[in-house]
């Protein structure tokens, strides 16, 4: 539990559903708190990267 990313339970659940590893998300909240938008942004970027790969 040492490097537990700070995020609300809702954001954690959304990250799980989107298959996003919270430790890879760039946090925009206070104290490095990961917000829902941060998770969705990374998902979008990953999607775009996947498209570019094709």
């Amino acid at each position: 539990k040492k490097n537990r990313v700070i995020a609300t339970p809702t954001v954690r659940r959304i990250a799980r559903e989107l298959n996003i590893d919270l430790t890879l998300v760039k946090p925009s909240g206070k104290n490095g708190r990961v917000m829902e938008e941060d998770v969705r942004r990374l998902k979008e970027q990953q999607g775009q990267m996947a498209q570019q790969d094709h």
């Binding site: 040492k2 700070i6 609300t8 339970p9 954690r12 659940r13 799980r16 559903e17 206070k30 104290n31």
Partner: protein, 467 residues
Amino acid sequence: MGDNLHSTDTIVIGAGPGGYVAAIRAAQLGQKVTIVEKENLGGVCLNVGCIPSKALITAGHHYHQAQNLDVFGLSVPKVEVDFSKVQAFKESVVNKLTAGVGMLLKGNKVEIVKGTATFVDANTVKINSVEGEKNIHFKHAIIATGSRPFELPTMKFSNRIIDSTGALNLKGIPKSLLVVGGGVIGVELVGAYANFGVNVTILEGQSDILIGIDNKATSIVKRNLKKKGVDIYTKAFVEGAKETDNGVEVTCEINGEKRIFEADYLLVSVGRKPNTDKIGLTEAGVEIDEKGLIKTDNQCRTSIPHIYAIGDIISGPQLAHKASYEGKVAAEAIAGEKAIVDYTCIPAVVFSEPEIAVVGHSEESAKKAGIDTKVSKFPFAANGRAIALNQIEGFVQLVTRADNDMVIGGQIIGPNASDMIAEITLAIETGLTAEDLALTIHAHPTLGEIVMETAELALGNPIHIVK
């Protein structure tokens, strides 16, 4: 019943707060669910644990309270207690709740099977009941068989040497009660009986009662108990106990001296043992650890991927709300959801007088974890609501990170601590700071203002305490 084929999607073994919650959630998520219970719906918690203990505590509280109303200008000549009616109150509370569980299970279309379940193999459970024996085949299983009181070879349970269940079910108010073990369950029962005027003595082997809880908090509970005549011996090593003609006699070593205690009853409350020994885990292929706890991953999955285990039989604190939380995770995992056991903190409450509630890091655990912390403590005695309630013993303590004021722990001892801990738990779980607590408006006059004031203290500018 015979041998007729019986199969189900998900079988849940044990209908305690772990099992029945898991069964309901699994059914809500579309599973065909069967729950097997060998005794009563609701498990230890509703029948012989959390709930009946709190009902006795409520009654004992009122008995003691009614005799101490002078400060409010009220005089009560004499309060009579009819303990059979106290027990009837307790029973009515238990019955209301267990009946409720039955309705909830039925309302969610969970099949209820009465009997004792044992694994035959990884996909079959054998049910033994008064009606005979039958097998149930399942795709998924959730084991939630809970735990039972630990029995010491030197103090075998008998008529006078009782476990928590025995202590909850006494027919009358004893004159005297010896209690071996000053953990949460012991201390709660001691408090209830002390309020009923019983002469209670606690014999605790460790250096203090309620080990693990902030000792500024436990010392307030000890003071309260002592005021009610409770004797507390720590580092007391019980050598043996035997029944006498009309009571029990305990031999004990305290400070190198041999001492003998006598009382009407001896409650032995020294921990609980997981019910993992007679349920066919070997047949199912489910692995346990050296303590008898079932090994699980972060979805409560055992070594057999379609079998899950939750509650008192897996690692972690033996608490009903932990069991229920895990029950939901396991049910959701079975339904294919991505739920995992993913909490930052679990609150724990001692229903003593005053109540204790703790969550997250204590001062010590934070230190051990190498976190640089600030510890801030604000007394109930400086809070208007507490004074108007004439309940001023206790404090709220916050543990915050020194670098960024994040709330990582809370300890409350005082009136309604069990209600107040929810706010601090939410703050920890969602990553809030002391400033978030301080700038959230708290109604006046309420006990919740103490949480706000403690947060202001953590930030350096408290209003209602001089630095």
